[in-house]
């Protein structure tokens, strides 16, 4: 079925309810669906588990969700940055739970969820604090750790362009987690700069096939600004 096309970001995220697990695309600000996150903030859903590489930058996007204490748990690889002050404050106050995952394991756990894999043995993290309590196995002389899929209720993704079938094209390194996150959520919500008629995207250029996309919204936000807005 072709994706639902929402008129507004608020409508696109309206189904996200309290307690949802939400995959949010982006590596830093590149690929972060700022307008969808703003709508989620406005919508009021709370007690969220959020999966993102980071835990928000400066005073925009995911950082604001954390500032408003909408996020109960953060699953990420790199929360601590020079401008992650809202996460730092919430974490030090004991008001947010952190599950720290090596970046490649994070991507693969999301991929596994979308690919119907029940778990996988990875060498990353073997023998480290982040493997404590996890099953390990030696295979051909190499130590591996069992990692499990990260499934989600929703994914919020930013791509460059979609056709009305939901086929997506991304832009440069803003692609990052988008394609795997689209596969791992019960409902993938995607903001794009423009929605074009079917046939306008060369099938050879599709990075995310439309089968994974549930909701589209066109928001002409343009390329990511080089620097995030800050209030400090």
């Amino acid at each position: 079925m072709a994706p639902r096309i929402a008129e507004q970001a608020a409508d696109a995220v309206a189904q996200i309810t309290d307690g949802s697990t939400v995959l949010i695309g982006g590596f830093g600000n590149a690929g972060q669906p700022m307008e969808l996150i703003d709508a989620l903030l406005e919508g009021g859903a709370t007690d969220l588990t959020v999966v993102n590489n980071n835990a928000g930058q400066a005073d925009a996007g995911l950082a604001l969700l954390i500032r408003e204490r909408r996020v109960r748990k953060m699953i990420c690889s790199f929360p601590r940055q020079s401008d992650s002050w809202h996460f730092d404050e919430a974490y030090r106050a004991g008001e947010i739970e952190l599950e720290l995952v090596p970046q490649g394991n994070l991507a693969e756990r999301i991929r596994a969820a979308g690919a119907g894999i029940g778990g996988f043995f990875t060498p990353t993290g073997y023998g480290t604090l982040l493997a404590e309590g996890k099953e390990t196995r030696e295979i051909d002389g190499v130590g591996y750790v069992l990692e499990t899929p990260i499934k989600a209720d929703f994914a919020l993704i930013k791509a460059l362009r979609a056709d009305t079938f939901g086929n997506l094209v991304y832009r440069k390194t803003a692609r990052n987690f988008g394609p795997v996150m689209a596969t791992a959520a019960a409902s993938a919500i995607v903001q794009v700069d423009e929605i074009v008629p079917v046939g306008d995207i060369d099938p050879e250029h599709v990075a995310t096939p439309g089968i994974y996309v549930d909701t589209l919204v066109a928001i002409a936000s343009g390329p990511t600004p080089a620097l995030a807005p800050t209030e400090k």
């Binding site: 590149a30 690889s77 060498p123 990353t124 480290t128 390194t173 692609r175 390329p223 990511t224 080089a226």
Partner: protein
Amino acid sequence: MSERADTDAALTRDEMARLVAADIPAGAFVNLGIGQPTNVSNHLTAEQGITLHTENGMLGMGPVAAGDEIDGDLINAGKIPVTELPGASYFHHADSFAMMRGGHLDVCVLGAFQVSAAGDLANWHTGAPGAIPAVGGAMDLAIGAKQTWVMMSLFTKSGESKLVDALTYPVTGLGCVSRIYTEQAVFVLADGGVAVRSTHGTTFAELQERVPVELTRA
């Protein structure tokens, strides 16, 4: 003068980066870690034909962007705007780390808090109470590339060797480091042994006195 010769003076950071760059085999696929290793790219020559990988989904990364080239959708692992070179490609995160974990990268250069004689690496967490942990791609990088090289100062500010018998900082990866570039010496690690390839502003005997690991001369 050979890149591998001893020198009377300690190496500057720039000289260390130049040495690492000269050691990277022609045509290699390379990931340079955040911080000091990033400077290695300033010393790679066009003749070497090196392709740089960045964990956030790109091969063929070019120099840091300036002026009109700056594009927030085109950044490196340190989230600094960079440029793309002819022949570049973009891919998603799971592919990027499969490329790394699958042993497709030839060399990865990382910074370190400590390295053990067995090649165990500590570079992600000081373990200090109250520190907010962050790992990023460090653990994937450490064990993923065919060769993992470290660039670090040999001694801490208080003078303790960062090349150690056993790590006291939390582990990033076990048995993964094969070479260490420091301002005082270049070390080659193999089969649990540590060989000194070159000394800089010091002697083998002086090094052996200060480094609590049995050294051999390469």
